[in-house]
Subunit: 251 residues, 2 copies
């Protein structure tokens, strides 16, 4: 039996999984390594008989307790820290890490925060749109053929998390902002940055992407999000004053 | 692309595998991590169509180049270092290790020696009889349900080997004895130890098992095997002299 840090705040999130047997194999890998929370987003086929085929032993419980969502953002709402996994390396992607380093980073965060590790569909992986919501992106090092079987990729992450959990002194990290809080903050910022003319209303995403990338380099704490939103509120008040002034002068 | 130590002298040996798709999944996991040599011993079902189903990309080459043996000892003959894998922990088993520690031990050995990592059948694993031929035994740490899917277990070993190979300065270890040389030595010893009355001819395995366990704690070099056999030859000569003497006196 494992002693050490807990893994119960870590969830595996599978996005648009195509083959139901892969979901069962993922559940078994998770169960082997003591990761118990499975979240499905828009599974393409959710045939429970086929899911349960490779899910032996106590991994049946993982399948029975899994949650299914129709919307990616909705599913990620409650999480304070989100990790995207990908086989591809692209220019527009936040900082890359590997499962081993990631596991040692995540164990302390997960003692007080909900952490999601997100895997894309078998054939195509996560899109850039998905990865925009991730604090960090992890890639499994490979020798040549970079595309791993989904359940084998999940196994490597869960194995590294378990190895780190038995190796790590439990320590804690202050509560991080969850995705709802972060998205609220980004909307607030986009709104205010448009008002002050920093952002071109025709192409608002260009600068927001850079801001997201910058603010995702280290996971924001809930208090920091409150601080940023306080500044946004103040800027908003200021722009309102300015507009009023212009209107008054224009009269 | 990986730089660092080579993995080409490392083979995955699957004993009495029951499900052909598992063989294909093993090939894919190996290929991902740059381990290319697959050996099957007495596969229960070797349907190539089913084997190839999960073997995507260049893992097809691994399947096409795999070797199939009818006999366990025959298959292990050419290997200088043999690792058994098991989920069970038993009293009569040699020293236990974990995939991570094992990988760092094996990379230097494998630069000049053939190394086999052996996996048993899906339902029951390797027997004590199989494990007797192994220099070391490795178990994957797990949280609770100890039985891993075969291909996922192979993936963890190959992943750790790959991680160790990119982390390890290539260094070399003198040529180790292969299984043929070791079995020849053990037979020679058993023969001579019976003659001198150390071993009870009614139950020869009892002491031989302890000797095997002792001599497997560290991998024997070819020169060391030659030395031990030299001693056996000398003892043989001595017992022959003694027998002759007894017969002469008895006359």
């Amino acid at each position: 039996m494992a002693t050490g840090a807990r893994l119960e705040n870590i969830s595996i999130v599978l996005v648009e999984t195509q083959i139901p047997e892969n979901i069962g194999s993922v559940a078994r890998a998770m169960d082997n390594m003591g990761v118990r929370r499975l979240v499905l987003v828009e599974p393409k086929n959710c045939d429970l008989t086929r899911i349960l085929r490779p899910a032996t032993g106590s991994s049946v419980d993982v399948v029975e307790q899994m949650e299914v969502f129709a919307d990616f953002k909705e599913a990620l709402g409650p999480f304070q820290y989100v990790v995207g996994t990908t086989a591809r390396i692209g220019a527009h992607r936040p900082s890359m890490t590997q499962p081993r380093r990631l596991a040692y980073d995540i164990i302390p965060i997960s003692q007080e925060n909900q952490v999601a590790i997100v895997f894309g569909p078998e054939d195509s992986g996560l899109t850039n749109e998905h990865l925009r919501y991730c604090h960090s992106i992890a890639t499994i090092p490979t020798a040549r053929f970079p595309s791993l079987n989904l359940a084998q990729a999940v196994m490597i992450f869960c194995y590294e998390l378990f190895m780190a959990s038995i190796d790590t002194e439990p320590r804690s990290v202050p509560r991080l902002a969850n995705r709802f809080e972060l998205e609220g903050m980004y909307e607030h910022m986009a709104d205010v940055l448009k008002k002050i003319g920093f952002i071109n209303p025709q192409n608002p995403e260009h600068w927001m992407l850079s801001i997201r990338r910058f603010l995702s380099r280290l996971p924001l704490r809930a208090g920091e999000v409150r601080l940023i939103r306080g500044i946004c509120r103040q800027m908003n008040w200021y722009t309102d004053q300015y507009e009023k002034e212009k209107n008054r002068k224009g009269r």
